[in-house]
Symmetry: C2
């Protein structure tokens, strides 16, 4: 059961209260696949890197078991992103974005990836996201991210995309901007009215929310006393979420809830070290322990029941 | 099993996007006891009202079953509070605070309330809170609220109070200010190091958190598509929390978790109408249904378990 992700592969430089990195492995498709590959052994990446992209970074992905057959190397600079986090890591300022070869990215899905049953369209131009959908054969589940930039500039294309996907997975400010409604539950209902069967709203330090036509499911954030680097948490969440669905091949609501928790586990692990470091070393046992810890965090018994 | 609350009884005037009220029944002790009385029939209030306080407001409390033997009427103006909420109800601006007779409030606990087993010290001067503790005989559980004003002005007295209570129940900004730590889990641990066995952190639209030496328990906020008036949500939470503990007379951790959910249920009901309106009409059946809805909101099964 292939899990295909299409999105950015980048060189990140971040400044946090705990230190500073330069040109480390980053990008949405990277955090997604590094997290997803902990759970599932058929994670397939489509993306582009420049001629300056370190071979060692690709080896990090390959060592995690990620299939890089869809990663093209183009003449030119790699996508670079630089940001500084606030003292409490609750907000960040982008200092520099240099698209490089990513500006001309036209995803080409390799033949062997086209039968992927689970597809994640990370944040890229919605026209390219639609184009990817034309290239895959018969996916069972398509989830999609976007950003404020596309909501403002390519709203019509984005609405067309919504009619063709199963899950929109965005953060709360994006859901609010897209729907024009500040109430996050009404915003999610608005998204459902545009086509997707489910809306997954990422809420950063406040966790994540799943809304479908029947139900609302909430996973709070894991109580971390130390967060090191929030970069990629949302994409690691997406990777854990989609990888659990791909490996289990079960789209029932109880299993989608479980996928939300696996996603939250991966997101909470990702932020414990700089960049993808924590995802590099992370074991399935650690993920399962984190998932159990999420249960301890939220479960309660009603009067007269067993705890 | 008496549940004693000592705190403000006020005339509230609030402006929300949905309308405006003037001199309605409000105050921490009022929201606490109106919520608590839905669950428990021995809620006892100690507070003060002015000569202008409408008899009808006291009848509202009495009709809910609240014992008003500790409510004194003093010559002078009642405590009045006026505030305006932002369009999304996420923040509010206090327009006016007139303390009136509340400025000279010296709680006197009636003889028949002194054996209360559960005591809630709503937000008043920590010296008065300590004085209340001298007047109660042998409480099984004392919980306490405070505010930034006392954290800044009477820090030493507040720290003395912390050594004499079981639960500090504050909102997240207060916990951060008191501890000097922006990380809410570290802030809670700091509170525990000062005496209380538990810290309950109210997080508004993001729910509530229970931290003790062994565990962290989170209840997210209930997914309301319409919030009418957030006033008193935190005190209604406290009322539901303490009333469940008082009626069950069980301080085990599973039952304290349950109390967190009853508190959250009462808080989420309180905001559905202006002032105490929703708490006036609320039935035990509605509360139990809301508690079950909280379980649907957060529970999940692990792989291979029954949902």
């Amino acid at each position: 059961m292939g899990l295909l992700v299409v999105g950015s592969i980048a060189l990140d430089s971040v400044i946090t209260p705990f230190g500073e990195t330069a040109d480390t492995l980053g990008g949405a498709a990277v955090f997604f696949s590094m997290a997803g590959a902990v759970l599932h052994d058929k994670v397939q990446v489509v993306g582009v890197v420049g001629s300056d992209f370190p071979e060692a970074h690709l080896k990090t992905l390959a060592a995690r078991g990620v299939d890089l057959a869809g990663v093209e190397r183009q003449e030119g600079e790699s996508f670079r992103w630089k940001a500084r986090y606030s003292y409490d890591l609750a907000s960040r300022e982008t200092l520099e974005t240099r698209l490089g070869v990513f500006a001309e990215f036209r995803p080409r899905i390799p033949e062997k990836f086209r039968s992927a049953k689970h597809v994640f369209l990370a944040n890229i131009d919605p026209e390219l996201q639609l184009n990817v959908l034309d290239q895959v054969e018969n996916p069972a589940l398509v989830a999609c991210d976007t950003m404020n930039y596309w909501i403002q500039l390519k709203r019509d294309v984005l609405l067309q995309l919504l009619r063709n996907i199963d899950i929109l997975m965005v953060n709360d400010s994006e859901a609010r901007e897209l729907s024009g409604d500040w109430n996050i539950y009404r915003a999610a209902r608005w998204i459902l009215s545009r086509g997707p069967k489910m809306a997954v709203i990422k809420q950063g330090e406040h966790g994540a929310l799943l809304v479908n036509h029947e139900t609302v499911f909430k996973v709070p954030a894991y109580p971390l006393q130390e967060v090191f680097d929030p970069t990629g948490a949302g994409d690691a969440f997406a990777g854990g979420f989609m990888a659990h669905l791909a490996r289990s091949d079960d789209l029932s609501l109880p299993n989608v809830r479980r996928a939300m928790v696996y996603g939250s586990a991966m997101g909470s692990l990702a932020v414990e070290k700089f960049g993808v470091q924590r995802l590099e070393e992370c074991t399935l046992q650690e993920v399962n322990a984190r998932v159990k810890a999420f249960r301890d965090l939220v479960h309660f018994s009603l009067d007269g029941e067993e705890q």
